[in-house]
Amino acid sequence: MEAKDKTGNLRTVTPACSISEDEGLVTVKVEMPGVSKGALEIKIEGNELVVSGNRSPEAHRGHYILKERRAEAFKKFFTLDDSISRDDIDAALVDGILTLKLKVKEAAKPRRIEIA
């Protein structure tokens, strides 16, 4: 049994995420349990950062007694504003959590002006 909806697509869920900023470094954590590194795709389309990943279909070889896990695939869009550097994005996937580290452009950081 493949868990597909009526249109033939995988059941896609928006993953839970957390976004925080600390001194010019924006950390985005996206929970994508069951997604391996190879099934994950991160791309930038214009002003959008798109994260998508499919779960491995290992499960579909019996019948379900209980089914609470909903997602078969994950997809999440983030809008990047001009202050975020597009070239310097760091991504790591550990234990089902994708951590993205984005940098705020130097020009957009608050600048302290020294008093002469």
């Binding site: 869920v13 928006t14 839970a16 995420c17 957390s18 976004i19 925080s20 900023e21 600390d22 001194e23 954590k29 929970e31 994508m32 349990p33 069951g34 997604v35 391996s36 499960a59 070889r61 019996g62 019948h63 379900y64 007694i65 209980l66 089914k67 609470e68 896990r69 909903r70 997602a71 996937l93 234990d95 089902g96 959590i97």
Partner: protein, 152 residues
């Protein structure tokens, strides 16, 4: 019989009834719904679980993103499978600005009543990409057997 939380019906108030219904619908449609009814007196967070039956085993799969393998405890008592653990988060610094927080941290536990025909001696568990998979073998006599009937 399982113990079920007693919900005392207040004197009929239509608005309250609608309010409760809306909350229930919201919870039912929430994709991140964490089933939170685990325990009557010590309620803990319970992860979402799938139980799958194949020809010769049961598979229990639980979504536990961000949980360390060493903080996870899987045990079987009789026909009860228990999954316990602690999801740790990193310490937040004071200066950190939080824009969004949908993830949770803390302890969790989940107990599942397994069918009687399991072989308690043959249980293995693996944890990969934030998903815990427990393989529980069926007893020999519970497996589907193919009996060839000779037709004369």
């Amino acid at each position: 019989m399982d113990l079920v939380k007693w919900d005392s019906p207040a004197p009929m108030d239509l608005w309250e009834a609608f309010d409760g219904l809306r909350g229930e619908l919201d919870r039912a449609l929430d994709p991140f719904r964490i089933p939170s009814v685990a325990g009557l007196l010590d309620q803990t967070t319970a992860p979402a679980v799938d139980v799958l039956e194949t020809e010769d085993e049961y598979l229990v799969m639980a979504d536990l993103p961000g949980v360390d393998k060493h903080d996870l405890e899987v045990s079987v008592t009789g026909s009860l499978l228990s999954i316990k653990g602690n999801k740790k988060g990193e310490r937040e610094s004071e200066k950190r600005k939080i824009f969004r927080k949908e993830t949770w941290i803390g302890s969790f536990s989940r107990t599942i009543n397994l069918p009687a025909q399991i072989d308690a001696g043959k249980i293995t568990a693996e944890f990969k990409d934030g998903v815990l998979t427990v393989h529980i073998a069926k007893r020999e006599e519970a497996k589907t057997k193919l009996i060839a009937v000779a037709v004369e």
